[in-house]
């Protein structure tokens, strides 16, 4: 009887360990990859820039993080999906007619599950802006 209980106990223990191992390997299969990290310096610029992010049909989730900071002028950031629909935007800035330098910061984090496949765009629109933009994406397959 005791032997039987002991055998049952070890069987259960073995099953739990096997299931847990399987689960761990499942998480290992979902790879995380940093596929874009870009720093853009803006020096009293007014030229519009466009950064493209390619999303394939295997992408389960994408995290897009944009950090920006300006000390002069104005800066707008716009995010568009592959169909051209605006998915987010923000703008930061100082008054254009003053020379007072003041730090203004804007950050956006977009966490998109099964995002639209294709080329996503991040538009950087400065108006006499001095500052920086940092774009990072984390893709989960």
């Amino acid at each position: 009887m005791n032997m039987k209980s002991l055998l049952l106990f070890f069987t259960c223990l073995l099953s739990i360990v096997t299931i847990a191992q399987n689960k761990t390997s499942q998480y290992k299969d979902q790879s995380t990859q940093v596929n874009l990290q870009r720093n853009i310096q803006i020096k009293q610029d007014t030229r519009e820039q466009e950064i493209t992010i390619e999303i394939d049909n295997q992408t389960k989730k994408i995290e897009l993080m944009i950090h920006s900071s300006v000390s002069l002028g104005q800066l707008s950031i716009e995010i568009y999906d592959s169909k051209g629909k605006k998915q987010g935007d923000f703008s930061v800035g100082n008054q254009l007619n003053t020379n007072v330098s003041e730090q203004v910061e804007g950050n956006i984090t977009k966490s998109l599950i099964e995002p639209q496949e294709g080329l996503w765009k991040v538009k950087i629109i400065p108006i006499k802006a001095k500052g920086m933009v940092q774009i990072s994406t984390f893709t989960f397959h």
Binding site: V92, V104, E105, I108, T109, Q116
Partner: protein, 328 residues
């Protein structure tokens, strides 16, 4: 008799005092009190900003900040709203990370740092946040119904954002439709906020009828938010493009007429630019009258006549009296 006079006098003085007090006294007692849960990464100051139009919902600059308040160790803060306008407007509360500038906006994620709400000089708002990450994710506005609705829209949009964009397309559409359907019942600012959050510019073609009835419903109101919305609505652009096309066709026809030498600008249009006196002088000029004859006719000096003639020539864009006589 004297007593009566004194009594009347006292009554008049008393009523004047009461009325002057009520004129001088500002009855507005708007106040915002709140309680917020923050971890040690946030600084203990909270800022109140004015959102002039919906385009500024995600904008940040120091000029937008109206006031700041200290958050005490229990998370309590307070703002006086009595100086705000009588009309309802949109405002934003935001906090900043200790290492960041006070002028910082964080959109999305666990560190989203702002809350949008409606207020005027009479608003008595008491809010309480019930979640620390992100700090303004769950806000209880108590009995303030319009801000409870405002918050519902924010939460609905958050749900919509977190739906998978491919597999959840029908769910997304359902939420968008729910947003749109519930709008006509609400007050203007709340409904406009919902429209902005449902990306009205891209779903306009799907709900054309709704937008037309919405514009009609609020046609009597005029404020920054509604004006901005009307300007951004493609409905106006459609009308504009039709007008532009008509103007272009008209301009092309006119140009070809000029090229063929068959069309001249109507004389009546140019004459409309002349004053009453100039028109009378113009009639004489057409008949070939000299300056002296014109001066005598209108009993004015030669120099005044010359000034009138010179004005007429410049308004009609012609060089000489002969050109006036040749005008068709």
């Amino acid at each position: 008799m004297n007593y009566k006079l004194i009594l009347y006098y006292n009554i008049i003085i008393a009523s004047l005092l009461i009325s002057s007090k009520s004129i001088g006294q500002d009855n507005s007692n708007g106040k915002l009190t709140g309680n917020i849960q923050l971890d040690s990464t946030w600084s203990s100051t909270i800022y109140l900003s004015y959102i002039r139009d919906f385009g500024e919902l995600h904008s940040m600059s120091s000029k937008m900040i109206l006031a700041e308040s200290k958050i005490d160790s229990l998370g309590h803060f307070e703002f006086d709203l009595s100086y705000l306008p009588e009309e309802k407007n949109i405002f934003r509360l935001h906090i900043a990370k200790k290492l960041d500038s006070k002028n910082s906006i964080i959109i999305g994620g666990n560190h989203e740092n702002y809350l949008i709400f409606i207020a005027n000089r009479n608003s008595e708002i008491n809010l309480k946040t019930t979640q620390a990450k992100p700090p303004f994710k769950k806000v209880d506005f108590g009995t303030n119904k319009e801000n409870v609705n405002f918050q519902k829209i924010t939460n609905l949009v958050f749900k919509q954002d977190s739906i998978a964009s491919v597999s959840g397309a029908s769910k997304r559409k359902f939420i968008e439709d729910k947003l749109i359907k519930n709008l006509l019942r609400d007050n203007q600012l709340t409904s406009l906020y919902a429209l902005y959050k449902s990306a009205f510019e891209s779903n306009y073609s799907r709900h054309k009828k709704f937008y037309k009835s919405y514009l009609k419903k609020w046609s009597d109101t005029d404020n920054n938010y509604f004006r901005d919305f009307k300007n951004k609505l493609p409905i106006k652009k459609e009308k504009k493009s039709t007008k532009t096309a008509t103007f272009f066709i008209y301009a092309m026809l006119l140009l070809s007429g000029f090229i063929l030498g068959k069309v001249n600008l109507p004389r009546s249009n140019r004459i409309k630019k002349l004053s009453v006196q100039e028109r009378k002088i113009y009639d004489l000029l057409r008949k070939g009258a000299t300056n002296k004859e014109i001066a005598e006719e209108f009993n004015i000096g030669i120099s005044t006549t010359k000034t009138h003639v010179s004005n007429i020539l410049s308004k009609l864009k012609v060089k000489s009296r002969k050109d006036i006589m040749n005008l068709k």
